[in-house]
Amino acid sequence: IHAGIQDYLKILNDGGGIKGRKIKYVAEDTAYKVDASVAAFNKITSQEKVSLYYGDSTGFSKTINPELERRGTMIMAGASFATELNDPKKYPLQFMAGPDYTEMFGILLRYIAKEKPGARVAFVYSDTEFGRDPIVPGEAVAKELKLTVVEKIVTPPGSVDVSTEVLKLRRANPDFTIFHGYVLAPIPEFVTQAKQMGMKSQFMGTFWTMDNSTVQRMGDAADGFMGVMPYRYYYDKDGTSPMLEKIRQMRTEYQSTGYLQGFVTAMLMAEAVKRTLDAGKELTGANLKAGLNSIKDFDTGGLFGVPISIPGNSVPVGRIYRFDSKAKQMLPASDWIKL
Amino acid sequence: MAGTAVLDVNNVEVVYNRTVQVLRGLSLRVPQGEIVALLGSNGAGKSTLLKAVSNLLALEDGAVTGGAIHFQGDDIASLAPHGLVRRGLFHVMEGRRIFEDLTVEENLTAATFALTGRQLPAADFDLVYSYFPRLHERRKGLAGYLSGGEQQMLAIGRALIARPSLILLDEPSLGLAPKLVEEIFTIIARINAEQGVSMLLVEQNAAVAFAVASYGYILEMGKVVIDGPVDKLVRDQDVREFYLGLGGAGGERSYRDIKHYKRRKRWLS
């Protein structure tokens, strides 16, 4: 993420900045701990005049929100796609550069409903805030789309042995299984054991599982693994994407989806700044957010496959990709789905 | 003092925690096959000396800072504690130090490690049981539940298993009933006579110590203040008064009479 932000700002600043203003970027590490993040926030904001802030965890985004509103001088985006944050009333000065977790589920379920109407779906998620986030709304969406959720399986955080959970999954015999709340483990073992048992279910994942290198690390289990991704992959060749070309020039080896997230976030933030300045307004949080929300059918240089709009705090767009074990790449399996 | 010395302690100084000096230039020797008694008041440094000899000081943050200790002619400084044991120097520590959650038999088994690397026949548990029949009765029981005397027997029994040439005995009579003290000391004398084991015996009960020993040292504040053959020591005025509790007339003084009267020792003044 760090590298992505850095690179976009480099492109921007090398190109003369926004209306002659350069953007200064200050980074702090926080170890995903709320108090460390708050400390970093205080430190940075007491030393610099900040307009754009990128924070990490959901916890931090929630913690800092009142402070953000109080200051009213900046907008913030974060690594979290938590559903709760996608509420412009509660979090007026925040946004995320992609769909929230529930929207990701929505995209997946829509795809499923189209492929196999009335399919049986199972959710497998970790017992964390991250894992639980989209489960209840996801179920509602499934119902709307006339899909049956046959099983919801919770795994304790950090668990490695999932044999019993796989047994449960086999009993439920779903057509599609969606994993959420994990990066890698225990998905591979889950899939391997399920395949050994002769299950035919299609396995799917959400953003943080979907990086190419992560899926590759699933080994045999990766074959055919699907998931939702709002951005194009680094190597994605279909369609035109001048921005991706630029990235490929700057960095010759594969860049992760996290990099892209950082990159896109920086881009959207810069766009908000530009629009605010264009309107001749001061760079306050509310103005910046208004600038951001005025984005309609905006072309991200092809990073999102379609022009995007930001109606609220999120960018509810994504596409289903499927892992091809011969190409060792995620290949598109659907069109861009806009919610 | 005649005979070759199994143990020769020369001008030893010991310091604890790099600050507290406990032994200040102490010398003594234990001749082959004899029992030497070491007396002295609490804190004089008797146990410290024994630990210095068996190289166990380091465990308690103590160190020998001067002098030398030779066991059978070799300087012990370079030997690890267990190495010394395997060469035949066995330390029966103060307070018995048996392994409470092992059985009696396992305690003896533990002592067989002292035989490792030595050309000796297998350990002889029966010898121990013949000296201490009580241990045989309780050999399957946990040592922690033995009575004080039985634990002392076990501690000495472990020494026997190790077939040492020198035993350092630290207060074997501590907390023992009078009859047991007699028994244990009889056995100590028997072991010495029958197995030819030399001993350095630390004791508070001077009377019994003198009964088995041939030579004695008296320690105060980390230094030897008097020494000599036992028959000479028992005639010394101060030894009689402070260690044996004998009044001027030769009879034992009563504790009821001492009350507030106190005389200072000659060797301190």
Binding site: D29, D35, A40, N42, G59, E67, E129 | -
Partner: protein, 346 residues
Amino acid sequence: MRIGTLKTSYAADEALFDSSVQRTLLVLLALAAVAFPFVASPYWLFLACLCAINVASATGLNLLTGYTGLVSLGQAAFMSVGAYTVAVLEIRLGTPFLLNLLIGAGLAAMIGILVGIPSLKVKGLYLAIATIAASVILHFLFSHWSLTGEARGLSMPPARLFGISLDQPFSLYWLIMPVTCLMVLGAANLLRTRIGRAFIAIRDRDISAEVLGIPLLRYKLTSFAISSFYAGLAGGLWAYFFRVVTPESFPLVNSIFYLAAIIVGGMGTILGGILGAVFMTLVPELLKFVANWATPIYPDALAALAPVRTIVFGGLIVGFLIFEPRGLAEIWRRARRFFHLWPFRT
């Protein structure tokens, strides 16, 4: 020992700060604490508050572990009890913050007593594990109970005093600092009475303490209660400070952090708890500073920060235990002695 201070009464000898130099230093320190918020940036104020909260909690743990000898890995869990209680009260009832803090601490103390009950039978590290069990159960409760907002936790309004809301490090400082000072002073007082002695006796040899007239269960539970009261209060302050409480706010690592703080500071001394908590809170900040400074030379410094911090945290614990088992407090004492006797060195 200070040379040349003659005590003429037992009262003087029993006083907490037994020399005029010490008292002068204390007054200076207090003045500095009052002046601090007016000169420091919000960042430093933020850190000061965080340190104070950690000092409060560490002092509580020190009473339990350092003085009573009952190892607990549940301090963070007790804090979470205080924090959640405060949050729930603030959101649902909007009662005054002092009352909320006290209720939170009281509830934590009650839970502490409950957790302490096995301590009569269960000893040493078995007990430490039992406290982990309690943390796990509390964590489970908080992350599945609708009252505590389940996995997503609670966000709460700030504390208010005379209509002013305390939502800035500057205003919070005036809430947190005095409370912490009172807590530390209370602990120091406690330790010079029969209760403190009973704690130490239990630590050193619990079975004989009983025969000397100290009811073991009652004092072990008292110790648990006071320590978790402290934790609860610290947790309440934490809640007002961050204004969001989630199940992940008080993980097991935090309990370890407090244990580490009292070890690094020096177990069984009040000063140790303070020094340790402050030190351990500031070290990560220091590392960040170093990393930022090193970035030009070594561009990946920031990325390496997280693992390095973990390593340093572990290394500090290990290093202190091996090289200075009596902690920072001992270093402080040595330094003091050195300056006293200077130029006559001992």
